[in-house]
Symmetry: D2
Subunit: 221 residues, 4 copies
C-alpha cells in the first residue's frame, strides 16, 4: 500500500468529519449565511497569502526536479489571491485590515515552522495534505452547488483539472519520498499527515463560526 493510501486510511475518521462539515454542506446547498462565507473568504485570503512563504521555504530543500514545480506554485497562488479580490468585490466583501483568527494564525505558523525546521519529505507531507483536503472538500460542495452562485468560482478553482493534476502530482511524489526515507522519518511524516488533517478540520470549524482567541470575548479578539 502506498504511503498516501495508508495514511488516508489511518486518518479516515478525521477526514470524514471534514467532508461532512456543515460549512461544506451549507455552501453546497446554498443555505450558508452570506456573512459566514464572507468571513471564511477573508480568513482564507490571509491563509493563501501565507502559503506563498511556506512554498518558498521548501524551495532550497527541494530536489532539483521539484524546484520548478514549486517555483510555478507561487504565481499560481498569486492568481488565487486575485480570484479572492475579484470575488470580494463582486460580493461586497472587504479584504482589508483583516486579522487572522486564532485557528488561522495557528495553522499558518504550523506551515512555516514545518517548512523551516522539518526535513523536505516531512514538510512536503504537510503541503500534500493541505492541498488534498481542499480538493476533496470542494468536491463535496461541487456535487450540489448552483453554478450561478457567487461562490462558484472558488469551487471551480479547487476542483479544476489543473488543481486535480497538482494534487495527483503531489501524491505520487510524496509516495516516492516516503519510499526513499528511513523508518524514523517516515513515522514523523505520518504524524504530520495527521496533524495537518486536524488543522484542516479546525479551519472549517473556524469558518463555521468558531476560531476566536480562547478566553477573549468576540469584541476583544
Amino acid at each position: 500500500m502506498s504511503f498516501c493510501a495508508d495514511q488516508l486510511a489511518r486518518v479516515a475518521a478525521i477526514w470524514e468529519r471534514m467532508l461532512n462539515h456543515r460549512f461544506l454542506s451549507e455552501t453546497r446547498d446554498g443555505t450558508i449565511a452570506h456573512q459566514v462565507f464572507a468571513n471564511w473568504m477573508r480568513q482564507d485570503y490571509l491563509f493563501v497569502e501565507a502559503a506563498i512563504p511556506f512554498i518558498a521555504v521548501l524551495v532550497p530543500k527541494a530536489p532539483r526536479a521539484h524546484r520548478v514545480a514549486l517555483g510555478k506554485a507561487i504565481p499560481t497562488l498569486e492568481k488565487e489571491l486575485e480570484l479572492f479580490r475579484e470575488r470580494a468585490e463582486a460580493a461586497g466583501v472587504t479584504l482589508e485590515n483583516v486579522k487572522p483568527s486564532f485557528t488561522n494564525h495557528a495553522y499558518v505558523q504550523f506551515l512555516l515552522a514545518s517548512a523551516y525546521s522539518r526535513s523536505y519529505a516531512e514538510a512536503f507531507t504537510v503541503l500534500y495534505v493541505a492541498e488534498k483536503a481542499y480538493y476533496d472538500s470542494w468536491l463535496v460542495v461541487r456535487a450540489g452547488i448552483d453554478k450561478g452562485s457567487i461562490w462558484f468560482p472558488f469551487v471551480e478553482n479547487w476542483t479544476s483539472d489543473a488543481f486535480r493534476g497538482w494534487v495527483e502530482f503531489l501524491q505520487a511524489e510524496l509516495d516516492g519520498l516516503a519510499d526513499a526515507v528511513g523508518a524514523a522519518e517516515r513515522e514523523r511524516m505520518g504524524e504530520l499527515f495527521e496533524l495537518t488533517a486536524k488543522y484542516e478540520l479546525a479551519f472549517w470549524e473556524m469558518a463555521a463560526g468558531g476560531g476566536g482567541w480562547p478566553g477573549l470575548t468576540g469584541e476583544m479578539s
Copy 2:
C-alpha cells in the same frame, strides 16, 4: 514611555484576564483538581522542551552581547525539564507519550515560525512576553499558595530572584532594541507583543480544560 511599558498598557485587558484566570486562582487557593494541574504539567513539559529550539534559532540573529545570555538559557530550560520530571514522579504523573493539545501545538509553532522568519527584535519580543507572562502569572499563585503544596516548586521556579532578573534583563534589552529599529519594525514588534499575550491567555484556557482539537471529540483528539 519605554516600549515595554507602552505595550503592557496597550494589552492590559488581555493581561488582566490572564492574571485573573481561574487556573491561577484555583492553584493559589489549593482548590485545583489534581488531574487539571497534572494535565497542565504534561502540556507545559512539551512547551518547555519546544522553547529550547526557539531560543536556539534566535542565537544566529542575536547581537554578540545577547549570545552568551541566550546560550545560558538553554541549560536553564534543561534544568526546568528536570524539575518537571522530578515533580511528575512526586505526584505520580506520567510525562511519557503526551501529545500536544491544539493550543499548545499552535503556540509552539508560533514560537518557531517567529524565530525563523522574523527579525531579531521581533522574535525577541515574543520571548520577553512569554517570560514576563509566566513571571506575572506565577506571582499571582505565590500570593496565596500553601508552601507545602506539591506544586510549590513550580511557583518557586518562576518567581525566583533568578527568574525575575532574567525577565528584567529581557525587558531592558527589548526596550533598547525597540529604540534602535525603524518605525515599521517597531509596529510589527507591537503586533507580536499582543499576539504572544493572546497565546499566553489561550494556554491557561487550555490548561483549565479546553484546548482540544476543534471539531474532534475528546477521544479522538
Copy 3:
C-alpha cells in the same frame, strides 16, 4: 546621498578592479579562450541555480510589496538557466556533472546564509549588489563584443532593458529600506555591500583561471 550611491562610492576601488577584469575585457575583445569562457559558463550555471533558493528564502521576510517581484524573479532565473543550456549546446559545452569551484561554492553559501540568518534589508543588500555587479560588468563587455559572438546572448541578457529595470527597482527599494532601518542595521548593510562586491570580484578571478580548492592540485579539486 542615497545609501546605494554612498556605498558604491565607498567600494569604488573594488568595483573598478571588477570592471577592469581581464575576463571581461578579453570577452569584449573576442580574445578569450573558448575553454575559459566555457568554464565560466559551467560555474555560473551552478550559481544561477543556487540563486533560486536564495530568492526563495527572502520571500517570507519580504514586505508584501516585494513578494510579487521576488516571486517573479524565480521563473526569470529558470529562463536564464534555459539560456545557459541553449548556449551550451550551441557551443558544444556540457553542463552535466560540474562541481562548484571553491569560490563558487563559497559565494553560494554566502547567499544562502545571508538569506536565512540576516534581516531582510541586509539580505536584500546582497541581492542588489550581485545584480548591479552583473549589469555593470556585462555593460563593459557590451561596449566592444562582436554581436555575432556565440557568447553575445549572455551579454544581451544582462544588459537588456528588462534587466536594467530590475536593477533600478532593486536600487530604489534598497535605498528605501536603508532609510527605514536603524543605524546599526544600516552599518551591517554596508558591510554586506562590501562583502558582496568582494565575492563578485573573486568570481571573475575564478572565471579567469583561479578558484581551485586551496592546497589541492588541479586534478584533485
Copy 4:
C-alpha cells in the same frame, strides 16, 4: 564498514595533505613565525564564534537524544573563546577589529548554510568532519611541540580526553544517522564529508599565509 570509516578512506588524500600541512609541522617543531600563528589565532577566534550559531541552528532539527549534547556544546565553545582571549593576552595579540579572511568567511557561510538548508544528518556530517579534522590535526602538533610553548594550551584543548570523547560521540552518532537514512541522503552526506575536508585544508592554507580576497592586493583585503 561504517560510514565514517568508509568516508575517511575515500577522502584520505585530502586528509593526508591536511595532516602534513606546514602550518601544523612548523607549530609542532616550534619554527612557526609568531605573526603567522597570531594570524591563525585571530581568524580561528572568529571561526569559533561563528560555530555557536551553527550548533544552535542544528538544535531544532536534532533528535531528542542529541539536543542536550548540542546544548552543552555551546558553553564549551564559549569557554574555548575564553582560551583564545587568555592566550591572546599572554602573547600580546589583539582579537579586536579582525575581519574574516576570504577562506574563513567562506567556511563560516558553509557551516551556516548547511545548518539551515540541509537535513540534520547532512549538517551533522559537517559538524563531525570539522571536529575530527581538528582533533587529528592537533594530534600531529602534540607529537612534538614543547609543552612550555605559549601555544601549547590550544594543543591541549583539542587533544584532551574530553575533546576526543566528543569526537568519538559524534562519530558513533554519525554512523547511526547514516544507517537510518535513505540512499540519496547518504550520498549527499558523503559529498558534504568531502567538502568539509576541503574547507579544513583550505583553512590551514589560509593560516599559513594565504586566504586574501581573490583579486585584491593585501592592503585592500
